[in-house]
């Protein structure tokens, strides 16, 4: 079995590493530093770490103020709280003024598991994607998380949302991989149809493609790690070169990856699209793999949707 690494762990390590490199990196957390892994930065750079307490709205506003003074604040908490709880603050204090704040949502999706529906963000991508000026990053593994973190500290200017998960997922990229802003990557070539996935579902899409291969169905697998700006060129190519698209995400089927792909392709190059994701319902407590089974975030579900396209 391949190594399983949670993207939040990669985040914590990258943040501490980049904190050494750039004095302007600061981190804020709302009493979840041990969970989001910002604690590692906090231990190494206590003078640049602000635990704001359980006050997500104040955290976003404080991060905005820091950004006006040239800091690069990473404000982390669970994805439900960084997006929904503090939405107006993210909108009006960060996004509208185009401030350099990195909003980090760990524990995204049903992969969060036992804590249950109150803690499983299934609408965060839809929310953040709808904000003008916001870029949305959804790394598929720890290597990509690390590379996106380099980008967020060294190059990117403007508001960003970084979506992370709690539980370990397989490492998909080799260590030479370099993330490119707004570019999706083809992880497996295929000619019959395309599986467009993001985050913790990318490795499951790859499994589905392997199974389909055994049945002589050639599925391409695309990782969309920048949900916004979306790689529409790549999606149009997939629509041209294969017979249809299955979107795959640990998120509501409304407004997230499926929404983004359907919106752009219906305008640019209409094609058949099937959606695998959370079926407009809240999750519940349970082991992550049990929840993935129960809510249809599985290779089997992807395969059956894929076959509907052919």
């Amino acid at each position: 079995m391949t190594e399983l690494v949670p993207t939040r762990k990669a985040y914590g390590e990258a943040l501490a590493r980049l904190g050494k490199e750039n004095q302007n990196v600061v981190a804020l957390d709302a009493d979840l530093a041990c969970s989001t892994k910002s604690i590692q930065f906090g231990k190494e750079f206590p003078e640049r770490f602000i635990n704001i307490g359980i006050s997500e709205q104040d955290m976003m506003g404080t991060a905005a103020g820091l950004a006006t003074c040239g800091k690069i604040p990473f404000a982390s908490t669970f994805a439900v709280f960084s997006t929904a709880r503090a939405l107006d603050q993210v909108r009006n204090s960060i996004c509208y003024p185009k401030l350099n704040v990195r909003i980090v949502g760990s524990h995204a999706g049903l992969l969060t598991g036992e804590d249950g529906a109150s803690h499983q963000a299934i609408e965060d991508m839809a929310i953040m994607r709808a904000l003008p000026n916001m870029s949305v990053f959804v790394p598929a593994d720890s290597v990509e998380t690390n590379s996106i973190m380099d980008f967020l500290v060294r190059e990117f200017k403007g508001p960003a949302y970084l979506r992370l998960s709690r539980k370990g997922t397989p490492v998909l990229y080799d260590s030479n991989y370099r993330y490119k802003y707004g570019k999706g990557t083809i992880l497996k070539e295929g000619t019959d149809l395309t599986l467009v996935a993001c985050g913790s579902m990318v490795h499951i899409a790859l499994q589905a493609a392997e199974t389909l291969q055994k049945e002589n169905i050639s599925a391409r697998v695309v990782n969309i790690s920048t949900l916004k700006p979306l790689d529409t060129d790549l999606l149009v190519r997939c629509a041209n070169e294969t017979k249809g698209i299955v979107t795959v995400e640990d998120h509501n089927i409304i407004g997230g990856l499926a929404g983004a792909v359907a919106e752009s392709l219906s305008e640019l190059r209409p094609t058949k699209i099937k959606r695998v994701g959370v079926m407009d319902t809240y999750g519940e407590s349970g082991k992550p793999n049990e929840l993935y089974q129960k809510y249809g975030l599985t290779a089997e579900k992807i395969i059956s949707k894929a076959k509907e396209l052919l």
Partner: protein, 289 residues
């Protein structure tokens, strides 16, 4: 901009700024005159006497900062910024016009001199804390000033920020409550009382002061005292009158977001001018001498 401590001069500027506020909101037939007039004297004291700032070095990292958390009072800020030389005074004629630089609520990217975008109430104090934390990290000695409304004080985020400033001992934050006891739907005490407001801020770990929000010398001496206090953030509860300076607007809730018609504007301006002993138009250049 050169600063002045001359009270007569500051009163004179306040009179001019109030006229600007009424002229620009009447011209736009839109905007918030009541809360702008109640905040005028505090903001005049800050920009004309207290703050280190310079339109020629707008992004100076060492400058003092001001966050107008009650962003609907933007017209006061615009008047004072234009008088200080951040942009031409003629821009005041384009308040709230499409394509203009003077938005309904402060926009730090569109308007030169605005330190933070605001408009959604309750958020400015957190941003001020962020600026103050950056100042501490960078060992700079600038001060961050912030003005919140008394109605705005009903927002939970204000009290989150109150805790943050005290916890991190942000003595480089000096904030004001524009305590005019009015909000949109009525008096603050009727809608959702905030008293005892001084005790609340004390209990949250702030050093508190009370001032008459329309007495320039009291405002200045209080800020001087506040700057000397270390280890705590400072809150100045400024007892103010909404619509201050125009008798038919004073304490009238309806003038929160309602502008004047031309006849009312004439009456208002003449009252402001009569009540100001000097009366004559002065501009920022004269102030700076």
């Amino acid at each position: 901009m050169m600063k002045t401590n001359d009270i007569k001069t500051l009163q004179q500027i306040s009179c001019e700024v109030r006229k600007d506020v009424l002229n620009m909101t009447t011209k736009a037939q839109s905007g918030h005159p009541g809360g702008s007039l109640s905040a005028t004297d505090i903001i005049v004291c800050l920009y004309c006497s207290v703050m280190e700032h310079d339109p020629a070095k707008m992004m100076d990292p060492d400058r003092d900062r001001f966050v107008l958390s009650k962003g609907h009072a933007a017209p006061v800020l615009y008047s004072i910024l234009s008088r200080a030389g951040y942009f031409p005074k003629t821009e005041l004629n384009n308040l709230r016009q499409v394509g203009g630089m003077l938005q309904g609520h402060p926009d730090m990217n569109k308007t030169p001199g605005v330190d933070m975008s605001t408009g959604s109430l309750g958020q400015g104090l957190s941003a001020a804390n962020g600026m103050a934390l950056a100042g501490k990290m960078d060992k700079k000695d600038y001060t961050v000033y912030c003005l919140i409304g008394d109605g705005e004080s009903q927002e939970g985020q204000i009290w989150e920020a109150a805790m943050t400033a005290a916890h991190y001992k942000l003595d480089n934050v000096i904030a004001f409550v524009d305590n005019n006891n009015l909000q949109i739907d009525g008096s603050v005490s009727d809608v959702m009382g905030i008293e005892p407001v001084v005790d609340k801020w004390k209990a949250f770990g702030w050093h508190t002061f009370e001032v008459d929000a329309h007495n320039h010398s009291e405002i200045l001496s209080t800020i001087t005292q506040a700057k000397a206090i270390k280890g705590k953030p400072k809150m100045i509860i400024a007892r103010s009158t909404k619509g201050k300076g125009v008798s038919f607007m004073e304490n009238v809730c309806g003038f929160h977001g309602k502008t004047l018609d031309d006849a009312q504007l004439r009456d208002a301006v003449s009252e402001l001018e009569t009540n100001n002993s000097l009366g004559a138009e002065i501009n920022a250049e004269e102030v700076s001498q």
